[in-house]
Subunit: 335 residues, 2 copies
DNA sequence: TGGTGTCGTCGAAGCGCTTCGACGATCGGG
DNA sequence: CCCGATCGTCGAAGCGCTTCGACGACACCA
C-alpha cells in the first residue's frame, strides 16, 4: 500500500501538497495537481482512513441504528437503510450499522471511540432513553421519528397527522361518512412509537373537523386479530363504508377478511392503506395509499446530518408532507 | 475526550502500560491493572478508533455487502444482516454496510483505505465480477453463496442440494410419487444466483435416485405467473400430489391458487416450502418447510471471517446441512 | 518603484495509539 | 550462591495523514 509520501516522492512534491490536492483546501497550480493526480493513479494510492481520521478528526462515517426485531415492518426498515446508505455515499460517507438492541451503550461506544461523525437513529420511542445519551455526545444526531421531547436533537419523519387527514379527506371527498381506522398492534402503541399516536391524533382531529362518524381500533397482525378487529368495527360502526389501514402486516389479511365477509373492495367498502408504495402495489388489488416515503425520509436524514456537520442551519423538526395516490381500492360511496 | 496519556498520568504509569492493560498482550501486575482500570473508568476513556487502526493496522470493522433491490427476499436479507451484526459484536467488531450496487468499486474503496479488516459478501452470482476483485484485496473475505469458481475465497451457505433432497425424501416417505418444483423466477436463474441451480440439481438428482415422477418450473411471483406455473404443472404432471416451493415471494399466491383450483392442502396436495422459519409459520397454514437458516449462515460467515483474521485454519467451502420441519402442509398421500 | 496581497509550495508538528527493545527486579535451578 | 529466565514496566519510534505557519515569487495599486 503506497502512502502519501510515496505519492509525493513520485510527483516530486511534498506530502502536504498531495494532501492539498486531495482536499482542495489550498490552491494548487494546475501543473502540480496533474502531476500529483497522475502519481496517485499510477501508484493506486488510497488514503488510510484511520490516519485521516486521526489527523483530521473526521471519519466520513455515519452510524445508523436500526431496530432488530421491530414492530416496524422489515421492508420499511430496509428502505430506510438503503436510502441512508446511498445518500451517504453521495456525500462521500459510509455507514456503520448498529442495532437498536445494543441500546445506549452502542451509541456511546461508536461515538466515544470516534468511529463516526454523526448518528442517525430509527424507531425512536416517546421517552426513548437513548435521546439523553445522544444529547451528551459530541457528535450530532438525527432521529427518524419524533419523541416526546426532541429538544436539542434534530428529527425528521413523515407528517403522520397530515397523512391521516389526507386519507380522511380523500374518503370524505368520495362521500364516505362512516370510516374506521385499523391501527397498528397494541404493542406498537404501548412501546410508544409516536407515529402511531400521531396518526391517531390526525385521524380523530380531522374526523371531528369534517364531522365524520369514525372509530379507531388497534389490530394484531394475524388472522384472529384481524377478524376480531373487523368484528368490533362492524358492531360499533354498522354500515361502515371505508377503512383506513395503518398496519402493514395486517393489510393483506384485512383485505382477505373483508372479502370473506362478502364485501367487495371498493364496491362495498373503500380501503386506504398507509404503507410504502410498492406494498400498496403488490396487493391483490392496487391500493389507494398514503405513501410512507422511507426513501425520502432516509435521504433527508442524511442531508440533515451533513448540514449539522457543516454547521449549516437546520430546522429542528422536519415533517414531510404526505402524498395520497388514488388507485383501485377506493371509490365514491355507493347509492 | 481523555487520551491514553491522561489515563497513564492519572494512574501513575506510562502510556504503554495502559495499552498493555487494554490489550493484555503483556503481563501486568494486578495492582497496576486495577489502578489503570480505575483511571480509565473515572476519566471515561475510550480509545480512539482511528489512532488504534493506524498503529495496529486493525480496524475491528467488517464490511457487509447486501443486495439493494435484489430478487433475494427482503426479510432474508435483513436476517442475514442482523445476524452478521450481532455475531460481529460478540467478536468486538462493528459492521460497515455497503450496497451491492456500488459493485467492485465499493469493495476496493473500503479495503484500500483500510476501513475494514474483512469483507462479507451476500448474493454472489455464478461468475460474479466482484470475486476477482476480492481475491486481489489484502483483506480476507467470506462469501454467502457459492460461485462457479470459489478458489481462493471462503464460502458459506445452506446446502441447497441437500435441501432439495430433504424435501423430496420427506414427501416420498409419505408416499408421494408425482412431485413438482415451483422454482424462483426466471430472472433469478438468469442472474446466476447459484442457490437456485443447486436446488434444482438436488431436486432432479434425488428425484432420479428415488425413481419419482417430477418436473420443475420457474415461477414469477405474481398472480398471473403463479397461475401459469400451476397450469403448466397440472398439464405436464396430471395428478400431481405434492409441490415443493422454492420461491418465497410466490409462496402465498401458490397456496391461494391451489385452493382456488379446489384442492386442499394437505388433503389433496402436500406442500413443502423452502423459506425461513417465520415465513413458514406466518402463512394461513403452518407449512412444512426446509429452513433457510439466515441467522446461522450469517453467524457462520462472521465466525469464518474471524478465523481468517486469526490465521486459524478454515474449510474453503462450508455448506450447512438443511433441516426439514414437518408442519401442517404435508400429509401421507390419500388413498 | 515600494509596499501589500495573493498564490503555490514546503517543512514540521502533531493526532492517539501500539509495539519493540531495554532494563531492573524477582525467582528457580544447578 | 550465581546465572539465566521470566515478570513488569518504561521510553521511544513510528503508523499515515492533516494543518499551521512560513516563505519565496509574483502581481497590482498607488
Amino acid at each position: 500500500m503506497p502512502t502519501i509520501n510515496d505519492v509525493a516522492r513520485a510527483a516530486g512534491v511534498s506530502p502536504s501538497t498531495v494532501s492539498y490536492v486531495l482536499s482542495g483546501r489550498r490552491p494548487i497550480s494546475a501543473q502540480t495537481r496533474e502531476r500529483v493526480q497522475a502519481a496517485i493513479a499510477e501508484l493506486g494510492f488510497h488514503p488510510h482512513a484511520g490516519a485521516r481520521a486521526l489527523a483530521s478528526s473526521r471519519t466520513n462515517v455515519l452510524a445508523l441504528v436500526v431496530p432488530l426485531r421491530a414492530d416496524v415492518s422489515v421492508p420499511v426498515i430496509m428502505q430506510f437503510a438503503t436510502a441512508v446508505v446511498t445518500a451517504s455515499r453521495t456525500h462521500n460517507h459510509d455507514v456503520l450499522l448498529l442495532t437498536k438492541d445494543e441500546g445506549t451503550a452502542g451509541l456511546e461506544r461508536v461515538a466515544h471511540s470516534t468511529m463516526v461523525d454523526a448518528l442517525i437513529v430509527m424507531d425512536v420511542e416517546r421517552d426513548d432513553v437513548r435521546i439523553q445519551a445522544l444529547r451528551n455526545l459530541k457528535q450530532p444526531s438525527v432521529l427518524i421519528g419524533l419523541p416526546e421531547d426532541p429538544a436539542g436533537i434534530v428529527c425528521v419523519d413523515l407528517d403522520f397527522e397530515a397523512a391521516a387527514a389526507e386519507a380522511l379527506r380523500h374518503l370524505a371527498g368520495h362521500g364516505h361518512r362512516r370510516i374506521a381506522l385499523v391501527g397498528p398492534s397494541p404493542a406498537v402503541y404501548k412501546r410508544g412509537t409516536t407515529y402511531a399516536e400521531r396518526f391517531l391524533t390526525g385521524f380523530t382531529t380531522t374526523s371531528a373537523e369534517l364531522g365524520l362518524e369514525t372509530m379507531t381500533h388497534p389490530c394484531e397482525p394475524d388472522r384472529a386479530g384481524v377478524r376480531a378487529c373487523l368484528a368490533d368495527i362492524d358492531a360499533q360502526l354498522p354500515g361502515v363504508t371505508a377503512l383506513v389501514v395503518h398496519n402493514e402486516e395486517a393489510l393483506r389479511l384485512v383485505l382477505e377478511e373483508v372479502q370473506a365477509s362478502g364485501r367487495r373492495v371498493p364496491a362495498d367498502i373503500s380501503v386506504v392503506a398507509v404503507c410504502p408504495r410498492d406494498v400498496a402495489l403488490n396487493m391483490p388489488l392496487p391500493l389507494t395509499s398514503v405513501d410512507i416515503p422511507a426513501h425520502d425520509v432516509g435521504g433527508l436524514a442524511v442531508e440533515t446530518a451533513m448540514k449539522l456537520l457543516d454547521g449549516r442551519p437546520t430546522e429542528p423538526v422536519r415533517l414531510l408532507p404526505p402524498t395520497l395516490v388514488q388507485r383501485e381500492s377506493t371509490a365514491p360511496i355507493a347509492g
